[in-house]
Each structure stands twice: as structure tokens, then as C-alpha cells.
């Protein structure tokens, strides 16, 4: 097995593909379809989701229930989760030539934490050890469409509505204001990090096709 790969952006033999977007943008469904497709084609593939490390995910859930987190603590809790997954799961898989798809990545922190008041430079430095992904897909959804999806499915969540930053005591209003700010941060990052922006309002198959078209040329770069 070869240890380094000059054809990937991070230098590991595998591929790192990131899917970003707000809740309700269809991220999880697109990732599942992508995983199936890659497995079917015979590639080793693995999905790693935001906030799922054994070390931190329960701690984060408990902390959020108490609604007593300030911006820097909130940010660092997620950074610990990310680091633990990165070191124990993501990097070992990339070393083994696996395609790692991550459901959210550092960009989620850059948008959420900055909206909560930490400085963009500070949070970027906290995550500066993260491998550069080969592709970042951003599923962009207008707030109005997000609102409909959220109301029809999971309902409002305290933090996803940004209630902790006190924009409005009305959930509907707060969600709108908060998600607008999040979308705004994603828009600002689009050039900075070279996102492939896909309109999340298109049909599931149209979105999936666009994702696959972008990945296809990279598959021959994997070393396993």
C-alpha cells in the first residue's frame, strides 16, 4: 500500500468528499444515495457524520439541553468531537484508500460559530489541522423552502432556530433570521473554499447526478 498520493488535495491515498448544507437541505439522503452508488461500483466507502464521536456526542447533547453554553464553549465542544473522529476514523480510512464522505465538515463550524459571535479567524485556526477535502458540495436552499421542510418533518429545534442567540422569541421568526445568517456565511465561504454549490430545490435525482458527475473523474486517483 502506498502512503502518499499526490493526486489528492490532502495527500492521503483515499478521497475526502464533504457534503454541507443547513438542516432540511437533503444532505443525509444525498449522502446515502452516493454511498450506495460508490459501493455498487466496488469502492470502499465510509460515512462520518457531524457530532457522532463516542467521546463527545453525549456530552454535547447534555450540554445543549441545559442551554447554558457560550459561543467559545459551544465551538470547542464540536471541535473536540471533530478531532476525535478525524484521528480515530477519518484519517485511518483515508490512509487505507477509502472514500470518506462526511456529513458536514469544518464549514459547519465556521458558519454556526461565527453567527454565534466568535471571530472567523479564530475558528479557522482552531480547525487548521483538518485535511483539505477533494470536493465540497454545498446544497443551497432558500430559507422559505427550509421552513416548509422543517415544519413538515422534525419541527423546530432550539439551536437550529438560533434561539440561544436571542434573535426573536418567536420560533418561526428566529429560525428565519438565524438560517439567513447561516446561509450568508456559507455564501461567503463559497469562493474562499471552492464549494460546488448545488440548488437543493432541484429533484433528488438531479442533485445526485450533479454530485456523481463531479466525483467520477476523481475515482481513478484513489490508491488502494
Amino acid at each position: 500500500m502506498n502512503d502518499t498520493n499526490k493526486n489528492t488535495k490532502h495527500g492521503y491515498p483515499g478521497l475526502l468528499i464533504v457534503v454541507e448544507g443547513t438542516d432540511g437541505s437533503g444532505r443525509t439522503m444525498q449522502i446515502e444515495k452516493l454511498r450506495e452508488w460508490l459501493s455498487f461500483k466496488g469502492y470502499g466507502v465510509m460515512v462520518s457524520e457531524w457530532k457522532t464521536s463516542k467521546l463527545m456526542s453525549n456530552v454535547i447533547d447534555q450540554a445543549k439541553e441545559k442551554n447554558l453554553l457560550n459561543a467559545s464553549t459551544f465551538s470547542l465542544l464540536y471541535a473536540a468531537d471533530f478531532t476525535d473522529r478525524l484521528e480515530k476514523v477519518i484519517i485511518p480510512a483515508l490512509r487505507a484508500g477509502i472514500i470518506v464522505i462526511t456529513d458536514r465538515y469544518t464549514y459547519t463550524a465556521y458558519s454556526r460559530d461565527v453567527v454565534r459571535g466568535v471571530s472567523p479567524e479564530w475558528v479557522r485556526r482552531v480547525y487548521d489541522f483538518a485535511p483539505v477535502p477533494d470536493l465540497v458540495f454545498y446544497l443551497k436552499m432558500p430559507v422559505e423552502a427550509l421552513l416548509k421542510r422543517i415544519i413538515a418533518t422534525s419541527g423546530f429545534d432550539y439551536y437550529e432556530s438560533g434561539r440561544d442567540i436571542g434573535l426573536s422569541t418567536d420560533f418561526y421568526e428566529s429560525f428565519k433570521l438565524y438560517q439567513r445568517r447561516i446561509i450568508n456565511e456559507y455564501a461567503k465561504m463559497s469562493n474562499e473554499f471552492g464549494f460546488i454549490t448545488i440548488n437543493g430545490n432541484h429533484s433528488i435525482n438531479t442533485v445526485q447526478d450533479k454530485i456523481r458527475q463531479n466525483i467520477e473523474p476523481l475515482l481513478e486517483k484513489i490508491i488502494d
Binding site: 467521546l55 467559545s72 464553549t73 470547542l76 473536540a80 476525535d84 484521528e87 485556526r125 482552531v126 489541522f129
Partner: protein, 225 residues
């Protein structure tokens, strides 16, 4: 970064630093008792003690499952939580805050573990600059003698995660030697006041009280004996 600028809050922040076995906690306990009788409005806070995360960190340490970077971030979470829940509100309310270890502990230990010097300083950049930071300096042999009176060195305090030596005592000396090195470099960087921690407890405490008195007087706080 806030850590490099003097704060303008009414309270006073006093921190003690040093490796395990330097006697800094003993010195701070004596100071605290004295201040509780003289100026009264005193709050104490110590490293890795926030309800939010300290148990998680302790459990993970027992299983030896932390990388230098997760170790570093977990301690930063603890610090961030205590800073915003305890330290900043207390300073706003005019308390004298006594902190057993502060950001300098992270700067010394984490860098000794191989974490990037600038990365860890950036992570703690939101910290408040102390009014007074004392560094109790002790040679590594004395520190080892003191902590081994009642126990063997623990996995992380001995730096066993770095594979410096298979022997915990030898590893402790090598690792804490590196930590001392980092502290020494910070004396100028952060204006740490160095105290000779091999001096008698009483002498150190009298010196400590003198220094604290000057700092509090400069803030307009009179100490009534």
C-alpha cells in the same frame, strides 16, 4: 487577542502556575484563607473542574484514549466554560478571583506534548489577562519526590502517551522537564512572577501576600488585617 490586553473589569484575577508538586495549590489555599478574612469577596476556581466536561475528561484519561490534540481541546472546553460561567461574571461583580492553573498550564503541557505553540495560544485567545500570574518553580526531582509520597505518577502527568520511557518515573522526569522548559520561556512572554518553590512554605506565603497586597492596592482595594 483578549489574553494579551489588560482587562478593565472591576475585579482582580490572580493565578498560580507550576508543575505538580510545586506547592502552588498549598500556597493558594493559604492565600485564600487569608483573603476570605480580610477582603471577603473571593472566588476560587481550578483547572479541569467544570461540570460540563471534567468528568468526561477524567474518564477518557483513565482509558488513556486521548491524543495530544483532543487532550488540549477538552481542557480548553473546561476553561471556556469556567471563564464565562464563573471567572468573567465574578470579575464584573468586583470579586477577587483565584485560579489554580490558567491558560499557561495548557501552553506548557500541550506544547510539551507536541501540540503547535501558536495553535494552542490562538485557541485560548478569548481568555482574560490576569492581573497577577505567579509561577512556582520547582526542580523536577523535588516535584517527583513530593507527588510520590502517596502515589505513582499518573499516565498523562508522566507523559506516558509520548513513549519517552517505559518507566513512569523516568518518563515523568523527561516530560515534566519539557513542561518546566515551556514555563521558563513564558516568564517573559506573559510577565509571570517566578517564585522559588523550594523555599519554606511560610516564606513563600509571606512573599505571595506582599505581591497580592500591592496588586489589590493598585486596584483600590484595601486589606484590613
Amino acid at each position: 487577542m483578549r489574553l494579551n490586553k489588560s482587562h478593565d473589569l472591576p475585579g482582580t484575577l490572580i493565578v498560580v502556575e507550576g508543575i505538580d508538586g510545586s506547592g502552588k495549590s498549598t500556597q493558594l489555599a493559604l492565600l485564600r484563607e487569608w483573603l476570605c478574612h480580610t477582603i471577603k469577596d473571593v472566588i476560587f476556581t481550578e483547572w479541569n473542574s467544570s461540570k460540563l466536561i471534567s468528568q468526561t475528561t477524567k474518564k477518557a484519561k483513565k482509558k488513556n484514549q486521548l491524543s495530544p490534540r483532543t487532550f488540549s481541546i477538552l481542557h480548553a472546553i473546561d476553561f471556556a466554560d469556567r471563564l464565562e460561567q464563573v471567572i468573567v461574571p465574578s470579575l464584573k461583580a468586583g470579586f477577587t478571583v483565584l485560579a489554580d492553573r490558567y491558560t499557561y498550564t495548557a501552553f506548557a503541557r500541550d506544547v510539551a506534548r507536541g501540540v503547535d505553540h501558536n495553535w494552542v495560544r490562538n485557541m485560548y485567545g478569548f481568555a482574560i489577562k490576569p492581573d497577577l500570574a505567579l509561577y512556582f518553580k520547582v526542580p523536577v526531582d523535588i516535584s517527583l519526590d513530593r507527588i510520590c509520597l502517596n502515589r505513582a505518577p499518573k499516565f498523562y502527568e508522566a507523559g506516558m502517551d509520548l513513549n519517552l520511557s517505559q518507566d513512569p518515573y523516568e518518563s515523568y522526569k523527561l516530560f515534566q522537564g519539557r513542561v518546566i522548559n515551556e514555563y521558563d520561556k513564558m516568564i517573559d512572554e506573559y510577565d509571570l512572577i517566578k517564585i522559588n518553590a523550594t523555599d519554606s512554605i511560610h516564606n513563600q506565603q509571606m512573599l505571595f501576600r506582599d505581591i497580592v497586597t500591592k496588586t489589590l492596592n493598585a486596584k483600590g482595594i484595601e486589606i484590613k488585617e
